[in-house]
């Protein structure tokens, strides 16, 4: 679509402005649950309100937002995250000494991405009886770089492709909520150090990191600077090193595990 159409789509941008104002006026709400508390952040309301005016989700929304606006919104996501990323950089810079001190942990925690294989893969194959789509679904946290790996190796029309796309969509729809909830629960239970939880916030997309570190900051406000610096540094490393970990470790390991645990006969199509 022509760039001018995206820029001049005032219906879209004005809707976003209204949503942002409403979300910020509501502010942070803490919902106490048994083992901790779940923090609801303005960015989560903004996402939900975005969904509510999305005609693909609520057909009645077509009066306000049409396919034109939906298409225009997609390239705006990348643009809209940029000032946030720049601000994150300015939080990392002054804390460089703390990041260097946490260096080994920061680099090695990328290995923790393999946790998905430990937790999700056996359940997908042994409990849910999934076929080769389990490889695509479970080898990574399924963000754009990971989709590229699967697309490159198997193609997106393959079963592995269906798996990675499925988890990608779930992540896109619910990822911010899941990470915000995980971070706030684990922070309030005290099972992990706040630094470790902050580093783990960097594993996903920019918006996941925003939700996750935002929830952490609200749970432990006195450590705001450290949390943001570590989460941001970890996110940069995810881009720098995470891809190689996926290609050379995570995907081969998942394939080996599938040979071990998965169906021996050709899997039924489209399972």
């Amino acid at each position: 679509m022509p760039i001018k159409d995206i820029l001049l789509d005032w219906r879209l941008h004005l809707s976003m402005l209204v949503i942002t104002v409403i979300a910020e006026l509501v502010g942070v709400i803490a919902v106490p649950i048994g083992i901790g508390s779940i923090l609801l952040l303005p960015l989560l309301y903004a996402f939900v309100m975005g969904l509510l005016i999305n005609p693909n989700v609520i057909s009645g929304a077509r009066a306000l937002i049409r396919d034109r606006q939906v298409n225009a919104a997609s390239p705006m996501i990348v643009i809209a995250i940029m000032p946030f990323i720049a601000k994150f950089g300015t939080i990392i810079g002054p804390s460089m000494d703390k990041i260097v001190a946490a260096g080994p942990a920061l680099i090695l925690q990328e290995l923790g991405n393999l946790g998905t294989i430990v937790l999700a893969f056996p359940i997908a194959v042994l409990v849910l009886g999934m076929g080769r789509e389990a490889i695509g679904a479970c080898f990574s946290v399924a963000r754009e770089p990971n989709i590229a790996i699967i697309a490159d190796k198997y193609g997106l029309k393959s079963q592995e492709g269906a798996g990675v796309m499925g988890v990608y969509v779930i992540g896109t729809l619910f990822g911010t909520f899941i990470f915000a909830i995980l971070a706030s629960i684990l922070a309030t239970t005290g099972a992990f150090s706040v630094e470790a939880l902050a580093m783990a916030c960097g594993i996903g997309s920019g918006s996941m990191m925003a939700a996750c570190s935002g929830a952490l900051v609200h749970a432990v406000p006195e450590m705001e600077e450290q949390i943001l610096a570590l989460a941001g540094a970890s996110n940069v490393l995810t881009y720098a090193t995470g891809l190689y970990l996926c290609v050379f470790v995570a995907l081969p390991v998942t394939e080996k595990l599938y040979d071990l645990l998965g169906r021996k006969e050709p899997a039924k199509a489209g399972a």
Partner: protein
């Protein structure tokens, strides 16, 4: 990582925009962020405006680097690098930069992005979620939980 080899899935949205269009689209986002920042925090409009202009300049430098540096890194990686270098303690003027951007709340900056993300969910993605069904939803939650807890455990072990 915007450079993918997929035809049926368009992940390379950045490629569609030229630098001028990026600058303008970024300005639109900054205006929304400025209103959000004014509503959400005690910062005044002039304070927020100056802070956002500084951030806007960082984004533009990052995009120039993305475009002209021969090895490919996603623009967000360059932008965060610009932000880091501009605020390192030994960088001249870092105190000034830090003071200006301190008037912009980091979490408020993510709010418009997520609003766009909600509107951008395409029919295709809803279809995938429906056809993949509940199993992929369960697996998706486990994948994210496993990755997060796994990273936290490793980080904890080496801290």
């Amino acid at each position: 990582m915007s450079d993918t080899h997929t035809q049926d899935l368009d992940l390379s949205e950045e490629a569609k925009f030229g630098l001028g269009a990026h600058a303008a689209a970024l300005a639109v986002v900054c205006v929304i962020a400025l209103v959000g920042n004014t509503v959400a925090t005690e910062n005044t409009v002039p304070e927020g405006l100056v802070g956002l202009i500084v951030l806007w300049i960082m984004c533009m430098i990052g995009m120039l680097l993305t475009k002209f540096v021969p090895f490919k890194l996603p623009s967000v990686a360059w932008i965060s690098l610009v932000g880091i270098l501009a605020t390192m303690p030994w960088t001249p003027g870092s105190d000034w930069v830090l003071d200006k951007v301190s008037h912009v709340n980091f979490l408020t900056l993510a709010t418009p992005c997520l609003a766009y993300a909600g509107v951008a969910i395409a029919r295709r993605e809803i279809e995938i979620a429906k056809t993949s069904g509940w199993k992929i939803a369960v697996v998706g939650v486990l994948v994210m939980t496993g990755t997060y807890v796994g990273s936290a455990i490793v980080a904890q072990a080496f801290l």
